[in-house]
Symmetry: C2
Subunit: 383 residues, 2 copies
């Protein structure tokens, strides 16, 4: 075994994907000291995504100051990869929940700074921007970001304003003609792993706003009605139907805003990662791909990281082993036939003793190391 | 992969070694349909040991009636393997705890029927007898078995009697000259996996008699003093020091009796199994050995089944994978360096989701199947 590709998702709440890569790499090199290991920690668009791309591909982290979600200046960053041809932004870096500290304010929080990052990235000369959603403090449908880039929002009196969650219902008209030219002709791809629509009971306000500080039904209703109104104005003034797009509700309906204001597509995060790192080329001459995630589930093969990778690996006949926390759930029989069919050669759990998750979690890094170590021992048998 | 040897211990309380063999075999044949699989369910000397040997080697199960531990006739059996040259006896078949039903009586129970089995086996023409200890209802130091084979026990009045736990202290003299000639010149090997001495706080009475019905300190003291007395008479009349032999306390001090009255050696069960099935010959041309047990522990490598097998496999450079329940304990880091050093190539846990043992147990057979299935998938990568 000479060439290994390590491309795990995070084990949510237990290990970041970068940590998983490091542990896998150590265990592999203990048995195959001359092997080439390529680490691609999988980004999901949320916090850490820029670093994940920089780890996989190298590049430059650009630090800058933008307007934070609270309206005050805040330090932020974006990444440049592919020699500056591609910029990577995680919206959490300019509108992230932790940036609000204890003063959560989903009705007032803005994505304005995310727009500033988009503009800076576009003006840096990037030909493509990858936007990661997730971890946001906002529910403004991306209006703040759009305003930062030149889109005009008018109220009933004809005055321009920058809408926030609480004031979406005041939008009387949208004029997108002023969008900064730097953003035209650039491909923008938005990483989005959730299916939620823009509004309604499965929408941004009902599902995600409570954890951002919408602690009463009244606040949720204001936000939900605002998004519903925004969708109708977008439809009327921009001619784009966003409300039913799966993922439009992601990140306080930033998904909808990316489509409506920036002409972006919403794409499964893993597909963006695989395309961005040119996974198909990495696969050439690879002997083994190791992926992984906190739990693999044969029921929902859609959008799962491991399965997305499996489909690519299968095309080139490169074996893929998934190292996971749990295989299936307490309620199924752990049969992975559907997963194997998608190009996953074998599934291995890091659970090494029978303990509940609460006790397994603090052991996870150690157990992962030993599991990969044993896996390498087994692989050497086959040689 | 063409030739697999399956030689697991039982997963105590969860799966018998024969069940483990069957599950492993099914999973292997799903991937290597033309492979030869040799199943050697490991016997520990306790209940099921005769069947285990018959499964591994073929042979004849001889059913007969002997005196049960309660003194009444009971159906029993022994096994003949190697074309009748070797007999296998499990003492649980003639003095087993379940044979007592609800009327446990460790002070009165006898191993007389075990002696009858020994005598029948010897008279059948067997050149060697393998005796399995474990699961006994008795604490008679093997005096019952010895009496059945012609050894005479005298009390202070010069009368012969068959000592039981309660009457060991009445033995004034032992005369072994009447031992049936059929038993002379026969090799008797006793499987014994425990270290307990004959008497004292780690001895048979203190450690094992309570679970056989010695429910007061007074009863335990009677049994312990009886064994202490027996040891002194054995030493004086037979010239054999048994009290400090590790394992002398096994099965109500049947370990001591096997040594003193039958000239047997006490041997780790796994070593007896490996010798009896001629494991070293089985290993020739084997591609892989799969073993397993409920838990593997790097701390105590002595006497563990997997490690015993590893030492043999290592000599012939045949890889060995241990499929186990738990790898290590909650209190260690699961490092198996000491186990690998003993010839275990890799260790794989059947735990596939993070649940406590109570929940893992009913899933175990299913989890074992899937674990071996995934292991075969990994092994095929290496080819």
């Amino acid at each position: 075994m000479k060439k290994f590709i390590l491309i795990p998702d995070s084990f949510k709440g237990t290990m970041s994907s970068a940590e998983v890569c490091d542990i896998m790499r150590r265990a592999i090199l203990a048995h195959f000291p001359d092997a080439e290991t390529i680490s691609v920690p999988v980004a999901d668009g949320g916090e850490g995504s820029v670093d994940a791309f920089l780890t996989a591909l190298g590049g430059e982290k650009v630090v800058c100051t933008v307007k934070g979600p609270h309206g005050h200046p805040a330090e932020s960053f974006y990444g440049l990869i592919h020699g500056g041809k591609t910029a990577v932004i995680e919206m959490a870096a300019a509108a992230g929940l932790p940036m609000m500290g204890d003063a959560l304010d989903v009705l007032g929080a803005t994505t304005y700074g995310v727009g500033e990052l988009l503009l800076r990235a576009a003006k840096s000369g990037a030909e493509k921007i990858v936007m990661g959603l997730g971890g946001s403090a906002t529910n403004d449908g991306g209006c703040g970001a759009a305003a930062a880039c030149g889109v005009k929002f008018y109220d009933a009196d004809g005055n321009t304003f920058v809408p926030v969650g609480a004031t979406l219902a005041n939008i009387a008209k949208i004029d997108a003609s002023g969008l900064d030219p730097a953003l035209r002709g650039i491909t923008i791809e938005t990483m989005c792993d959730i299916d939620n629509p823009m509004y309604g009971e499965s929408g941004a306000a009902y599902v995600f706003a409570p954890q951002k500080g919408a602690d009463t039904q009244e606040k949720i209703t204001i936000l939900d009605n605002g998004l519903r109104h925004l969708a109708s104005i977008i439809s009327r003034d921009l001619g784009i139907t966003v409300d039913t797009i799966p993922g439009a509700g992601a990140a306080g309906a930033m998904g909808a805003g990316m489509v409506a204001f920036f002409g972006s597509v919403l794409k499964m995060g893993i597909e963006t990662v695989l395309d961005t790192v040119d996974f198909d080329t990495l696969l050439k001459n690879a002997d083994l791909v190791l992926s992984g995630e906190g739990r693999i589930d044969s029921q929902s093969v859609r959008g799962k990281v491991v399965v997305g990778i499996g489909r690519r690996a299968k095309k080139q006949n490169v074996p893929l082993i998934a190292i996971v926390g749990d295989i299936g759930t307490k309620d199924d029989d752990g049969d992975m036939t559907a997963v194997y069919a998608e190009g996953v050669t074998a599934v291995v759990s890091i659970n090494r003793i029978a303990v509940p998750f609460k006790e397994a979690k603090p052991r996870a890094k150690n157990d992962l190391y030993h599991t990969v170590d044993d896996l390498m021992r087994v692989l050497k048998i086959g040689r």
